[in-house]
């Protein structure tokens, strides 16, 4: 109830939004694309919100709106949040990009943090995690553990982030297992347990004994557990749904970044930045490795993880060719962020086409 009264007070004092920062708690809002109960993407962002609330205590007041559809409705919700006096807003999905920029124009005193986007402004920062680093590590494990040499990949949308993930996982798997093959299903959704389960079943029917996903729900993990195959969780630890199935999970850890940004906002030192952090700064983490994994596989994965974190190893190191055979990276050459950010091609060896 206190939150509502404070929000109402903020709405009335619309014109004095900037002055509110001095004495009143710093207000931070979060917009989620899915339900916080998805136990995946939005759930992890909400953990970040909770970390902020815990870290700053009474000095901040956090709020959130979940399941906001990308598009015109998002703009309205973000606007309402800004109007009610919130000082910093985290918009946690790519599809909120234009809405965030538009609202940021109307509210120059509010700070915006947009996840996985590429448009910035004076009061808009972007941030994303180098998930592909995590994909490299699980790719190694998948390559070692698969017995049918078939890895099933549930992909959401044909965007650079997803394609990067497929490529990184494939390259790593192939480096330890030259026979491995990846089968990809495009479900065109971030969160739809029904479709994800369907895709998992179809992949397993076609021989996959390791499942990877770039979607948000634990449905595929549940199916993997049911059918006795292996799988990797996505965004959060899904061991609850797959105690025997889950080998490990790539986890998004937004806590450090969120706390740092809110601190900057409170201090007044906040400027617009574009952040792309990986395992090193702690944005990408892993769930505990399944006990059934052989010790040498775990050791190899941990070594790779540590090397990436230290910067001594890059998942995209040449020689690598594109799918059509044309050269991309020469021996020893490392991919630059620009190419990675706009990646729209498979690497050599990945079968199938990216939906066009």
């Amino acid at each position: 109830m206190r939150l509502i009264k404070t929000m109402a007070a903020g709405a009335l004092a619309l014109g004095l939004a900037t002055a509110a920062q001095a004495q009143d708690p710093y207000k931070v809002g979060f917009i989620y694309v899915g339900p916080i109960g998805d136990l995946g993407w939005s759930y992890q962002h909400d953990l970040g919100r909770q970390a902020v609330q815990e870290h700053f205590g009474d000095a901040v007041e956090t709020s959130y709106v979940e399941s906001v559809p990308e598009g015109a409705d998002a703009e309205r919700v973000i606007t309402q949040m800004a109007r009610s006096g919130v000082d910093m807003i985290f918009t946690t999905s790519f599809g909120y990009m234009d809405a965030t920029i538009n609202v940021a124009e109307e509210f120059p005193n509010v700070r915006f943090e947009h996840a996985t986007g590429y448009r910035v402004a004076d009061n808009v920062s972007t941030y994303s995690a180098r998930f592909y680093e995590g994909r490299h590590v699980i790719g190694l494990i998948a390559g070692r553990m698969t017995e049918t040499n078939t890895v099933g990949y549930i992909a959401s949308f044909p965007i650079p982030e997803v394609i990067r993930g497929i490529n990184a996982a494939y390259l790593a798997a192939k480096s330890v297992n030259p026979e491995v093959e990846f089968k990809v299903v495009w479900v065109f959704t971030w969160f739809d347990p029904g479709k994800e389960a369907e895709a998992a079943n179809a992949l397993i029917d076609q021989g996959a004994d390791v499942i990877m996903q770039h979607t948000d729900s634990p449905a595929a993990m549940t199916i993997a557990e049911e059918r006795g195959v292996m799988a990797f969780g996505q965004a959060s630890n899904m061991a609850n749904f797959g105690p025997t199935a889950q080998l490990t999970s790539i986890m998004d850890d937004w806590d450090p970044y969120y706390i740092a940004r809110v601190q900057a906002g409170i201090d007044g030192s906040w400027v617009s930045t574009e952040t792309w952090d990986g395992i090193g700064p702690g944005m990408v983490a892993f769930a505990p490795f399944n006990e059934s994994l052989p010790a040498e596989v775990v050791a190899e994965a941990e070594a790779a993880r540590d090397a990436i974190a230290a910067g001594t190893m890059h998942p995209f190191t040449g020689p690598i060719n594109r799918q059509d055979g044309s050269p991309w990276l020469a021996a020893g050459e490392v991919a630059d962020d620009g190419t990675l950010a706009t990646m729209d091609f498979y690497v050599e060896g990945v079968t199938g086409d990216i939906p066009q």
Binding site: W186, P193, G194, A197, A199, N201, D205, F241, D353, Q356
Partner: protein
């Protein structure tokens, strides 16, 4: 393109699972329409069944109690439809649509606190020597109870509609409610019972999604299955046996579509995903265009309100 990686037996097993919810909902709606009522609210009843079943299963840790709850919830929602259309004489199309919208919203609301929870699992029948029979073993003997129930109901309803007295009365009401009324049959009661049966079946179909097929709860998880079930009733010419074939056909196409995507057929996944719906339209057209056959089976009073005036 390696078609050999598609295992036909796995395909058939998968399609039976995919078809079961729409078969259940379709059978229910078939009975409803045979009694002369058009209930477009199947999607709403299915999703309510999905959440009710899920919630009950999680709370009691018994999936079968969940299924019973799902049937009950579907029937209650259908009761609402029945009261509005049979007693308050509201427009059946509009009321059915309202039911769908209301059901979807209510289910999402109720299910809010159940997102991300794992339900108690449902066992599959697994008599080892039967399941090991090549080809037929997995197809016939390795399913969960609901799949068998749905096939059982096809036979039950066939017998009911074609061989039983009660079924005859139901059909009479559907053909001419005025004539049935003057013969002394309680048209309203019969229709209400049919409507509630339809709700119960749809509810069970919905619960199949949340308890077995996925299994998890998500908002809107039935994803249009209720509408497919309605289409199935039409192109089954209101015959349970044909409904079974139609449901399996649709399930088969949906499952095949994903498998083709994996094999790498080269058609964009978006176009592949259209196929089940396009095929539904085509079969619908074929079944409807045979006017003689279609009109012989469509209940003559379908969609018309009954008001006894005496």
């Amino acid at each position: 393109m390696d078609f050999s990686s598609i295992d036909p037996i796995s395909l058939i097993v998968s399609l039976m699972i995919a078809a079961t919810p729409i078969l259940l909902a379709g059978l229910g709606e078939l009975v409803v329409e045979k009694s002369g009522v058009l209930n477009l609210g199947v999607e709403g009843m299915m999703i309510i069944g999905a959440i009710a079943g899920f919630a009950m299963a999680v709370e009691t840790e018994n999936p079968y109690l969940g299924m019973l709850a799902a049937m009950g919830a579907g029937a209650v929602l259908a009761l609402l439809f029945g009261i509005l259309t049979q007693f308050l004489l509201s427009n059946q199309v509009a009321t059915g649509l309202a039911l769908t919208l209301f059901g979807l919203g209510l289910a999402a609301l109720l299910g809010h606190s159940y997102t991300g929870i794992k339900p108690p699992s449902v066992d599959k029948l697994n008599i080892s020597f039967l399941t090991d029979i090549p080809v037929l073993g997995r197809i016939l003997f390795n399913h969960d109870a609901v799949v068998y129930f749905s096939i059982f109901m096809v036979f039950v309803l066939w017998w009911f509609l074609n061989r039983s007295r009660a079924g005859l009365v139901l059909r009479a009401v559907g053909e001419s409610h005025d004539a049935a009324h003057s013969l002394g049959y309680n048209v309203l009661l019969i229709r209400m019972l049919a409507i509630m049966f339809g709700g119960a079946m749809a509810g069970l179909g919905g619960a199949y999604f949340s308890l077995i097929r996925v299994p998890q709860w998500t908002e809107g998880m039935t994803a249009g299955a209720g509408w497919i079930a309605l289409a199935l009733v039409v192109f089954s010419s209101w015959k349970p046996g044909r409904l079974l074939i139609g449901a399996y056909l649709f399930g088969g196409i949906s499952v095949l579509e994903i498998n083709l995507q994996i094999v790498g057929v080269g058609i964009s996944p978006a176009y592949l995903k259209m196929t089940p719906y396009l095929v539904t339209i085509i079969v619908l057209v074929i079944m409807s265009s045979d006017r003689r056959r279609a009109s012989l089976n469509a209940p003559a009073s379908l969609g018309r309100s009954f008001h006894a005036s005496h």
